[in-house]
């Protein structure tokens, strides 16, 4: 493959982290395959974003048009198809985000390209890339080949490709918008915010979850502070809801909310399957519990056996320090 493209993702005039995931993966692929790395930025009034990306990517190709302001799959697919038309050997990388889920499959058909979604890694065999992705309730890994295809679209699991922010300046090139005046069949109307004050733990990337192990503690400030420091949300297991300490929509579990975070910090949670059943997508799972035999330690990646009151304030403090 001669070229690696990364589609930058933005929302409400801000770049999303999936862009950096894509550049991180793109760097690996470009190096391994000896290909050129280009970031595609489609949007409206995105000069600042282009410059930001150009700090980390050798080439940024910009298409600026009001119809591309939001990730409406119809103009996006048309634009990308027009840009990539005529190129015969490339891989297009995008984050596996909710916006891009709308774009990637249709785009792969328009490009006559092979598609693999939600990849967590790559392997290389005889100079050809293969994607690693997860299947069967995300429990099994699969190695997927593109059957020799030269045009490939891949979406990436967020967080699977750590980004090195080291700067290496690149260029910005603006190309004309290939969209015609043909009216769109799919029209963006607007964003709709979730109910105010209503935390959606299912969408959180970082979750601090508390369980029965918090004991008779009814003051949750310390846990909220930790969650804030980590940039995450506070969730819980059922006993906390039963005690009316947190509302039901913060309960993780089969009877509560299913969550798919990157990081799950389980504080005083024993690890009953009903609770674990609500944690999807194999996050980094860290458990703190005073019982060394708590089953949560069997599934967690890291564990600390200690009383919560000894760990939580110290952890909050350390994290605040590290963020400075």
């Amino acid at each position: 493959m001669k070229e690696i493209f990364v589609l930058a993702e933005h929302r409400q005039q801000r770049l999303r982290d999936t862009t950096w995931d894509g550049i991180a993966a793109g760097r690996v692929l470009a190096k391994e395959l000896g290909a050129e790395l280009t970031c595609l930025l489609l949007g409206s009034g995105v000069d600042a974003m282009a410059l930001e990306i150009a700090k980390h990517c050798p080439k940024v190709m910009v298409v600026d048009d009001p119809r591309l302001a939001n990730f409406n799959s119809e103009p996006y697919i048309k634009t990308l198809a027009a840009i990539l038309q005529g190129r015969s050997s490339y891989m297009l990388l995008m984050g596996n985000s909710n916006s891009i889920m709308d774009v990637a499959p249709g785009l792969s058909v328009a490009l006559d390209a092979a598609l693999t979604t939600d990849c967590v890694g790559f392997e290389f065999q005889e100079g050809k890339p293969l994607a690693v992705r997860q299947m069967y309730s995300y429990k099994v890994n699969a190695l997927v080949s593109f059957k020799g295809a030269e045009r490939v679209v891949v979406t990436l699991r967020s967080g699977a490709f750590p980004f090195d922010p080291a700067e290496n300046a690149g260029t910005v090139e603006t190309v004309a918008c290939p969209l015609t005046d043909e009216p769109l069949k799919k029209r963006f109307v607007g964003f709709v915010e979730g109910e105010k004050g209503d935390v959606d733990i299912s969408a959180a990337d970082v979750i601090v979850s508390i369980g029965r192990g918090i004991g008779d503690e009814e003051d949750l400030d310390a846990f909220e502070e930790l969650a804030d420091a980590m940039g995450g949300v506070l969730a819980c297991s059922r006993p906390i809801v039963d005690k009316n300490l947190l509302p039901k929509y913060r309960q993780v579990g089969t009877s509560g909310v299913e969550v798919k975070p990157k990081v799950y910090l389980a504080l005083g949670i024993s690890g009953a399957f009903q609770h674990l059943g609500g944690i999807k997508g194999n996050p980094l799972l860290v458990a703190v519990n005073k019982d060394p035999r708590a089953p949560i330690f069997r599934v967690a990646n890291y564990g600390i056996v200690a009383k919560l009151e000894d760990v939580v304030p110290a952890l909050t403090e350390k994290i605040k320090e590290l963020k400075k």
């Binding site: 889920m101 990157k262 059943g277």
Partner: protein, 263 residues
């Protein structure tokens, strides 16, 4: 409003202990229970609700071997009017692309206003067939739809984005809508409801009838191939962080930072 619902027949792997089969190409499926893909249950419910409101017909199709009959019958009990199995042994080994081709061919041969499906399937977790199908049919598509309203030939949908945010879109019909779980509350199907449709015919449509060749589907028609499957390395358990609570906390903070747990 004539609606086609694409439903997948999937093994229930959420609670099961999975093992890789001898060839290493798939998991052992012998002991697994197959069922209607959870996401598609919501698509069928939505289709039936639209029909109940606006009239029309709901057709459910599945690209799956004959064992799918039970869940296709269940879809009739859920209120669908007809159900078809789209299958040929050559379809075995199809990827999302090959499957979308079969569905597109079926749809092209019929009158329809809307195609509904679930956004993801629990087995592949790929979320691609809906979008591909729309592109193949040359009509608009939308995934992760959490709300859907149809009035005067225009459809308004709410798509789920991250962190509680949604986007509202207007889409011309016909279109392919891939729904999110939770957009409705699927009805319960009682033993009686299934019995009422026990004698309904569920025809199998083969490749010839669809106008496809054996090479269009299966591994031959697929664009990607699973070369091997493997269980992710499973630790014996958590790596325990030793030391006094403050030391352990400091170490943990560093790990969290390294793994992106601080944002």
């Amino acid at each position: 409003m004539d609606i086609i619902v694409c439903m997948k027949w999937t093994p229930d792997t959420s609670e099961a202990d999975l093992a890789v089969d001898k060839k290493g190409m798939d998991i052992e499926k012998g002991d697994l229970d197959y069922d209607m893909n959870e996401w598609d249950r919501f698509a069928i419910e939505e289709a039936v609700r639209i029909k109940e409101k606006l009239g029309g017909k709901v057709t459910v199709v599945s690209v799956a071997p004959e064992e799918v009959e039970e869940v296709l019958r269940e879809s009739l009990a859920r209120g669908a009017d007809e159900a078809f199995q789209l299958w040929d042994d050559a379809c075995d080994g199809s990827d999302g692309y090959a499957t979308a081709k079969v569905l597109a061919k079926f749809a092209q041969g019929r009158k329809f206003d809307l195609i509904l499906t679930g956004t993801l399937a629990d087995d592949d977790c790929a979320g691609q067939v809906g979008g591909m199908l729309a592109a193949m049919l040359g009509i608009p598509g939308a995934t992760l739809v959490q709300k859907l309203d149809i009035a005067d030939g225009t459809m308004t949908v709410l798509r789920e984005l991250e962190a509680g945010l949604s986007e509202k879109l207007e889409i011309d019909l016909p279109a392919v809508v891939s729904v999110a779980t939770g957009l409705n509350e699927p009805r319960f199907v009682s033993v009686r409801a299934v019995r009422k449709v026990a004698s309904a015919e569920i025809p199998c449509v083969d490749l010839a009838a669809l106008g496809l060749a054996g090479t269009d589907v299966g591994d031959a028609g697929a664009r990607v191939r699973i070369e091997k499957v493997f269980l992710p390395p499973e630790g014996e358990g958590a790596e325990m962080i030793p030391g006094k609570p403050e030391e352990a906390a400091a170490r943990l903070a560093a790990i969290l930072k390294e793994k992106g747990g601080i944002s």
